[in-house]
Each structure stands twice: as C-alpha cells, then as structure tokens.
Amino acid sequence: MGLEPGRLHFSWISSAESTKFARVAQEVTEAVKALGPNRHFLKEKAKVA
C-alpha cells in the first residue's frame, strides 16, 4: 500500500500484562522513530487563498 514494513505493529496484550505493554510500546516507538517521519498516506492541508 506504500507504508514501509515496520511502521505498522500488531500485538495482543492482556490488561494484566503491564510489563509487556511497556516493552511493546518502547519497541514500537523505537522502530518507528528509526524509520523517520511518515511520507505516505499524508493529506496536505487544503490550500486556501
């Protein structure tokens, strides 16, 4: 679709798995930061004169 691999993550975390949640959130943030800002699927603001 034009989104790079690594920008979209899926995880299954129970409400009892707080440490897993924290770890996954950390990993996702790092992985996405490493990719840099998203350039696809971005909608430009309408240009109004």
Partner: protein, 316 residues
C-alpha cells in the same frame, strides 16, 4: 445459449404457476448491445422476457439481500457462492430462495470487444460454435469467444453453482490448469516504492462514483463507511489518499467473502482493475486458512471463527 434461455423461462414459469416463488430475478435483454438488465418477473406470462447469454455478468445475489418473500433467482457459479455468503451472514433464509442454477460458460467482456472494433456496435451475437459476431455501422467482425472473456471468468475455477434447486443444464467442466494469482505475486514482489507507484497509477482515474460498491453483493451495510459523516472516516474529495483509503477499505470489507464475480470491475466507468485488491485477500485466505468464500452453508468463515491454530506470526 438458446437452450439455457428456454429452460430458464420454463423453470421460471413453472415456479410462478405453482406458487413456489413470489418473484423470479433474472436477466432481460438490455436496450444496448452487451448490456443485459436484471429484471424481476412476478407473473408466469411474463417469463418469456427472461434470457441468457454471455452478457449476464451482473451478480444477481445483490438483489436478494434481506429478502423476506419467496424468491427464485437465476444464478451462475459466482452468484450462487454469493447466495451462500448471504445465507451464512443471515441476510437470507435458505428456505426463501429457489436457486435456478446456470452452469456458467463464462461472460464476455464488453470493454474488450468495444476496444477491438472501430465505431459504434449495434449488435453482438454469439454462435453455437464458440464465436462472437460483432456488427456495427459498416463493419462486421468475428472473435473467438475464448478471447473475449471477462478477466475473472478466464481464471474462474467454480463455474457450476454450489447450491442449486433447479438446474438449467448439466454441469460444465471446471477449469483446472489456471493460475489465479500470477499478477498478485508480481505485486507482492514489488518494492515499497514500486508498489506505491503501481497503486497511484491504478487509482489515478477513480472518480469516487462508488459503482464498484453498489454492484457488489457483499456491500449491504445500511450506511457505508464512505457515506458516514459522524465520524467522517474518509474524505470525500479527489485527494489521492482518500481514494486509496476508499479502495483498500472496500477491499478489506470483502476479505474472506469475495467470490471474484467481477461485478466491481464490470461496473467501473473508468476501467480500474480493483480485483487485484480482493484477489490478494482471497489468496491470503486460501493460503492462511484454506478458505474459499461461499462454498458451503455449513462452514463459518475464517474471520468470524477462532481456531487455536490460526496463523499469528504478525502479532508480537
């Protein structure tokens, strides 16, 4: 095709006379060549309006959604699979529908024929020996029927109806040596940039008319996500991201349900080949869950049943 037409009329007349159905949904000759219209027959004496030829590509399951009366419906292989899908999704009661099953000999593609001749076509006839004769002002051209098929029909592997109460003819042989996913594998193999360019090009002509959605028997939501305004899931303009969001989401809503009837591509006024999206999902469903949509009324689709061995490699 003549025998098919006669048999369909005969069955429809009998069903209406015996009071087994309140109406029969079938095709009648359209006002333009290669454009047969769906029609509803309610009186036995009107059954002679019904016809069958290679221009009956519209999926009649679309007219059955939510039917509460007794309906007879003329159904090809793909239509019958959509009727099964309606039944397992509780949109239709099996007892309310009489399937007049047509072993399908594939539909012809009006665009392929229009592109192959110069000038306006006034008449298209199919001969018994597998030719299609196209006539217009000052020209007559004959094609091999096999060369004029709709893309989805050329790679179809389920031509015979999967449920059938009133067979119109003996089953036709199924195609076995077709590769349904050659183009999908090519797209899978593309780099991210190539794939983005491919989809940009594919959707460039889209005018957001939603004909693909309206022609699709799977799209029966009372309010479609594209028509919602609170919240507005997707912008309504011609922004390329909105167009892409519409097409991808529409396809995803058909995951595990699409029977590749080709109604979407047939309805598209600008010729977008959006079946690559639904066929990618069809391929995934087949490879991951061994599932083909609409083959049995007794099996739950993979996306509404949990199995401990469901593939989950993408979940952390």
């Amino acid at each position: 095709m003549r025998e098919y037409t006669d048999k369909i009329r005969q069955i429809a007349r009998r069903l209406l006379e015996e009071g087994k159905v309140d109406r029969v949904i079938g095709f009648k000759k359209g006002s333009m060549p290669m454009m047969n219209e769906p029609c509803v027959i309610r009186r036995p004496q009107d059954a002679d309006q019904l016809i069958w030829d290679g221009n009956c590509g519209i999926n009649l399951a679309n007219y059955l959604t939510g039917a509460k009366d007794k309906v007879g419906v003329v159904a090809k292989g793909c239509d019958s699979r959509n009727i099964v899908t309606h039944i397992i999704e509780n949109k239709l009661d099996r007892d309310n529908v009489v399937v007049i099953g047509v072993p399908c000999q594939a539909m012809i593609d009006k665009r392929k024929i229009a592109a192959a001749v110069d000038g306006e076509i006034s008449e298209v006839t199919e001969t018994d020996d597998g030719k299609v004769v196209v006539r217009g002002n000052g020209f007559e051209k004959t094609f091999d029927r096999a060369e004029t098929l709709q893309d989805n029909c050329a790679i179809c592997v389920h031509r015979n109806p999967v449920i059938c109460d009133e067979p119109v003819a003996d089953p036709v042989p199924e195609q076995t040596d077709v590769d349904r996913y050659a183009d999908i594998r090519a797209i899978d193999a593309m780099s991210d940039a190539e794939r983005k360019a491919f989809f940009d090009d594919m959707f460039a002509e889209c005018i957001r008319c939603y004909a693909c959605r309206n022609a699709c028997p799977l799209c029966y939501c009372p309010t479609c996500f594209v028509d919602e305004s609170r919240p507005q899931w997707v912008g309504k303009g011609q922004d390329e991201n909105d167009i892409r969001t519409f097409h991808f989401l529409r396809a995803y809503h058909c995951a595990g349900r699409c029977t590749d009837c080709g109604a979407c591509e047939r309805a598209c006024p600008v010729g977008i080949k959006m079946r690559v999206l639904t066929r990618k999902l069809e391929k995934d469903c087949k490879e991951l869950y061994g599932w083909e949509a609409g083959m049995s009324v007794d099996q739950r689709p993979p996306l509404d049943a949990y199995k401990p061995n469901d593939p989950d490699a993408f979940i952390k």
